[in-house]
């Protein structure tokens, strides 16, 4: 009896503590905040915080906006849990996320049921938006993304390998994830179409550490591959590079990979072995975008001790696009925000962003970079 009383009292206190003091509207940031991809997610969180802070300071909205971070641990199961948490919080107006395509695809299904808009700053597998065309899609179209997709990135890398580097035979590796495998397949399509030959194709597992046996096989392949294209993330890419160099696979034997591997963590894993790796990134690095100059400076001013990550300007743009849609919608109404997002024509750090009917940005720019270990930097290759 007394326990019930205490419990009831506690509940009341709890309810009172949670009661609205001022109206708060949340923009969820659903990204990996811990684990190997955690650094990328933390960068995106900072970028969204910056956008939100600027919006609050500008007094454009009659309520307070906060960036609410959620950790999906780069794990599709966890992404669905997080998506359920987000949709059940009525104060969340829209989601910036997810980072991984493997997470974004299942999570989008959850958001569609609410419905709440999801704007991905980094998930590049075409399926993330394309799934909205399937018959079993339950809900309106509410997936958007500010980054070009892997079909653009993969075919660009194939063109680069064939035309710029003059490679005719490549070995293909991927990490069997929707992102990695998708990217590798797009590369293959493009490379074969221009007359190149894929001499071998192997899948590895995320979390594997030892690729020496596989690399030895590629090194001794009788059809003499001139390089490796890898679809996957930086941990495996770093280990591959390190073990490649240990086996004597050096320049001009090329290592080409995509944006999942293009992050400073690559230098932590591979050390000097990262030198000379080719990595493509969707869009243009923030440092080379005139329109992103102010963002780069503000970011440095607000977070002087943190390295800006390669996707941060996309996160910032995603948040600003949501904020602009909310402003046009006249308030934090989830459905109206989705409708307004479709009409987006946003001039921001990425230039002008317009979404096509799938929700993908119409910008199809891909940049190829080359890792320089000494500077911990990725220099654009033209």
């Amino acid at each position: 009896m007394s326990f019930r009383l205490v419990a009831a009292a506690a509940l009341m206190v709890f309810a009172a503590a949670c009661g609205p003091k001022e109206t708060v509207v949340k923009i969820a940031v659903a990204v990996p905040l811990t684990g190997d991809m955690g650094t990328e997610g933390q960068g995106l969180r900072r970028a969204v915080e910056l956008a939100v802070e600027e919006a609050n300071a500008s007094k454009r909205f009659p309520f307070k906006i906060v960036a609410a971070p959620y950790d999906d641990r780069a794990d599709p199961k966890e992404a669905v849990n997080v998506a359920n948490l987000i949709t059940s919080d009525p104060r969340v107006v829209a989601v910036v996320g997810h980072y991984n395509s493997g997470c974004a695809t299942p999570a989008a299904k959850v958001y569609a049921r609410a419905p709440v808009a999801m704007v991905s700053p980094a998930a590049t597998n075409p399926e993330v938006t394309a799934q909205q065309n399937s018959k079993d899609w339950s809900g309106p179209r509410m997936v958007f993304r500010v980054v070009p997709t892997d079909d653009v990135q993969g075919s660009y890398a194939a063109m680069f390998a064939g035309k710029k580097l003059g490679k005719k035979r490549m070995a293909l590796l991927h990490d069997k994830s929707p992102y990695g495998q998708g990217l590798a397949e797009e590369f293959k399509k493009g490379f074969v179409a221009q007359g190149g030959k894929i001499v071998s194709e192997d899948g590895i597992s995320v979390g594997d550490k030892d690729f020496k046996a596989l690399l030895t096989k590629i090194k001794n392949d009788s059809s003499k591959p001139e390089g490796i294209y890898f679809g996957g993330l930086y941990t495996e890419a770093g280990l591959l590079l390190k073990q490649m160099r240990e086996l004597g696979l050096k320049d001009p034997f090329a290592f080409i990979s995509g944006d999942g591997a293009m992050t400073f963590g690559l230098f932590d894993v591979a050390g000097d072995a990262a030198d000379g790796a080719y990595l493509s990134i969707v869009g243009v690095p923030a440092d080379e975008l005139p329109s992103a100059k102010k963002f780069v400076e503000d970011y440095k001013a607000k977070f002087p001790n943190d390295e800006r990550k390669p996707f941060d300007h996309f996160g910032y743009e995603a948040a600003n696009i949501i904020l602009a849609a909310m402003e046009r919608a006249g308030g934090p109404d989830r459905t109206k925000v989705i409708e307004e997002l479709k009409k987006t024509k946003h001039d921001g750090v990425l230039g002008t962003t317009v979404f096509d009917d799938k929700g993908d940005t119409t910008s199809k720019i891909v940049t190829m970079t080359r890792a320089v270990a000494k500077k911990r930097a990725f220099d654009s290759v033209r």
């Binding site: 192997d202 240990e246 894993v269």
Partner: protein, 299 residues
């Protein structure tokens, strides 16, 4: 190519063997599987990293620094294993066979999450105290790292062999492994010998952790899980409780993985499946492992 693959397999096998020894030593005495062993391995690697970060002038450069890093991390990992035994296993030893097992899983989760929360949630670069060069032998490229890993493992295995076979403490250990109660009646302090076994097993695990970190260049809170599981498999394959069996099992597993990913089309995807299929077949034919003896039921 075969020479190269054999060298790849040797390095992988050496690391598995060292870890497998930790499982087998403990099992030999307590017939208990120390599931926290994979975390001892992880902590060994983190201690080495910590030493190199705190005193880069001492531990960050040269072979002497490397040796010092090794010995201190081994001692630390050994001590941690002793503490785990004292706090989490000994009080439960006489209660049931399952209780220490569950306790071990608990310790493993606590240690892993402890590092996750307080140290780092992501991969940290592991220092390279010696410059890594390559040598060409018989058309194979051997890196100095592989030489260090092989040498260090062989030296440690040799020391362990000497300790167990030719010292008094080793004799006491073997006596406890044969029959712990009778050994106690003969005047051997079995609690002390058990703690010693945990220390030796933990130290070997710590060494394996440092080698693992050196080999792959980065370490992470959950690095122990996969090699731990593989090494446990190796110990069972060789005959758990048998020291030579653990070494043999480790090398066999290393070779199997390398050969599977090197010679079977798309074998990299299948290498674990192939390795574990072989394990199942071996266990079907020899249930107590390759070198395991049939143990008569203890009454």
């Amino acid at each position: 190519m075969l020479v190269q693959q054999l060298i790849n397999g040797l390095t992988l096998g050496a690391i598995y063997s060292l870890i497998a020894l930790g499982y087998t030593l403990v099992y030999g005495i307590l017939t208990m599987i120390n599931f926290a062993h994979s975390e001892v391995l992880m902590l060994g690697a983190f201690m080495a990293l910590g030493l190199a970060a705190l005193l880069p002038a001492v531990f960050g450069t040269g072979l002497v620094g490397l040796a010092g890093m090794f010995i201190l991390s081994m001692a630390g990992a050994g001590l941690i294993n002793v503490i785990i035994e004292r706090l989490a296993y000994r009080p439960l030893r006489h209660i049931s066979r399952l209780a220490p097992l569950i306790s071990a899983i608990g310790v493993s989760i606590i240690l892993q999450n402890g590092v996750f929360i307080w140290v780092s949630t992501q991969s940290l670069p592991f220092p390279e105290p010696v410059v890594i060069g390559q040598i060409e032998v018989f058309g194979a490229t051997i890196s100095s790292l592989q030489v260090i890993i092989l040498l260090a493992s062989l030296i440690l295995m040799g020391l362990l062999h000497f300790f167990v076979e030719h010292t008094k403490l080793g004799k006491a250990m073997r006596a406890c492994s044969d029959d712990i109660q009778t050994a106690g009646l003969m005047g051997i302090n079995s609690d002390y010998i058990i703690a010693l076994t945990f220390f030796v097993g933990g130290a070997l695990g710590g060494a394996a952790g440092v080698l693992y970190g050196m080999n792959y260049g980065s370490i992470k809170y959950n690095l122990g899980f996969l090699p731990g599981a593989k090494a446990f498999t190796a110990a069972v394959l060789g005959g758990i409780g048998n020291i030579r069996g653990a070494v043999l099992g480790g090398f066999i597993l290393g070779f199997l993985e390398v050969l599977a990913s090197g010679y079977i089309p798309n074998g990299a995807q299948w290498r674990d499946v192939i390795a574990f299929t072989v394990l199942i077949i071996v266990l079907l034919v020899r249930p107590s492992g390759l070198l395991g003896e049939k143990i008569a039921e203890k009454v």
